[in-house]
Symmetry: C2
Subunit: 370 residues, 2 copies
Amino acid sequence: MSHFVVAVHCGAGYHSTQKEDAYVKLCKSACLKVYHLLEKGRDAVECVTEAVKCLENSVLTNAGMGSNLNINGFVECDASIMEGKKLVFGAVGAISGVKNPVEVSATLVSRQLGDKLSLGRLHPSVIVGEGAEKWAEENEIKTLETRHLITDEAQKTYQNHKRKLDIVNERDSNKKRKLTQQRNDKTEESFDVQEEEEKIQDTVGAIVMDTSGNIASAVSSGGISLKQLGRLGPAATYGAGCWAYNQRPGKPGVGTSTSGSGEHIMKTFLARESALSIQCEDNASLGLSNCFKNNFLESEFLEEEEDKLAGVLALRQNEDNIVELLWGHTTDSMCVGYMSSSLQKPKVVMSRLPDGGVPGKSFTMSGVSI
Amino acid sequence: MSHFVVAVHCGAGYHSTQKEDAYVKLCKSACLKVYHLLEKGRDAVECVTEAVKCLENSVLTNAGMGSNLNINGFVECDASIMEGKKLVFGAVGAISGVKNPVEVSATLVSRQLGDKLSLGRLHPSVIVGEGAEKWAEENEIKTLETRHLITDEAQKTYQNHKRKLDIVNERDSNKKRKLTQQRNDKTEESFDVQEEEEKIQDTVGAIVMDTSGNIASAVSSGGISLKQLGRLGPAATYGAGCWAYNQRPGKPGVGTSTSGSGEHIMKTFLARESALSIQCEDNASLGLSNCFKNNFLESEFLEEEEDKLAGVLALRQNEDNIVELLWGHTTDSMCVGYMSSSLQKPKVVMSRLPDGGVPGKSFTMSGVSI
């Protein structure tokens, strides 16, 4: 049997210790499910789709069911897949009413790999909004009323955030009547959407290497709480959310899947840049840390940002067929699970910034050869 | 008076000789309008927006009014702007019912450059579909019924293309009943959407360097004829449609604006990669031709594509403040106009592949120091 690997993450962000066991259980079950598919010889795109579907179907994650609600109080999801053989990418953005957004991405990839369209037209690689929903229906992807994606917890969080927003908005409009609004209002800090007890980890994702050595990676996300209607995040953005590249002569295979603060990840093309950095260094860890240092924490594209929040899960397939799995993050925590043909059972790591580490400014990294 | 430059393109694709005069006139009038704004000291983002608005408002171009119609027979537009000082990007995708899509991008850029949102939320950089339309309305951007963007010519072309599609679809379904469908059906060629007499140049765009040396670039597009509802193209994709980077110590300033076959431009991040390539070579022309050769015509991301169709308009600001303007394309033609503080009147070049050049396979390039 050829070597195969599945790795998942349920986001880089903040994972409460109370829910840690539940996250661990979720990652294990996703890895195990995909392990059995890989064992049967299923391909990387199918397997990475199944891995992300498991994560989307859990109410614990900010993807599919249980996603954060947007400013209008409903769910809009982004998801994408890239496969490393033909280097095809498929993404769906701002979609409501589809149970598993990653399935839309998988179908977009499969269409691009299949027959060409008539009349010289090209298959789309990214589709969004209502058009994407219609496309999903036409392609027999399970749709449902968007309200069925809203969990009680997401609704509660939304109401809480919305109430705070209303207070801030009212206070601001009062203030405007009285004096020029101060740009950095200290009292606002107590209303931060990202309060400790409510912090929800962001985009989830997975990377798979199948028995033929094909690599595919994926991400899925409900986006940030109270987001603007129609806002597109990194999970729908080529080069930002996921990257995959099969091994080629002189180049190791690589897959990456990112999570964290959307606009930061997009501005720095974090999935692509971390993959390229990991590919071009002899030492994969050095590649990942170089990327986080030069291309993220010290990026000129993020000069205006105080806290730079992201996590990357990465897989490198070396010429000797040894696979290295790496994860690094500047967020409080990142939850990573993995399983391979050489392991007896799935492993899960809840990686946390070490003592003294400052989220948005410090970076921690770990990895394993499997 | 400090040096300033405006350059526009009304697409890389196919420009009929019959309409050449009209394209020339359009480019001249856009350049002149923006020249007068630059002369008054207006900034790069405002000026690049005005340049693209001129192009969008013309029924000649596939942007704004007169855009190609999608498969459902209406207009959905993409547009984006990047500015080189703070490196901020704003894009709108799959939007109907806005007269000037590029105005939405400009407002997204301006919001990101302005005050932060309350509650630790970030301004979006990309918004799509109905959510984008609502955002445009809230931000006092001129909206209109989508039918007002449809010109008689676009409607005629749509009906013609749709009729051909219906014939092909019917033939295919008949064939399926009889025999396995052949993957490459030779008879289909006669029905290519991109027939000579109907070929419409793609995405339009502009690049501006203002009197302070700030660079901004932009693109706007109605997308390909009969496109899938909700399909997002390069004009809404970060790194694909436009790129801008002000001069910094040891690095020349650069702006790019692309046009051509959407999925090819997206897959190769053509705006960003051409900008980086132009920045890193002493000779700007070598930078652009290297990018077209290595990153486009021979790109491993386009291995499956027979014809690789794109054009790039690029501006490089050297340390001696000399500005080089370059354009290169693999399409039949590309129409470029420019004007600067050192020129008496706007210039327009209708660049065509030289005799023997094969669209999608050959590359031609030209440029000027201004």
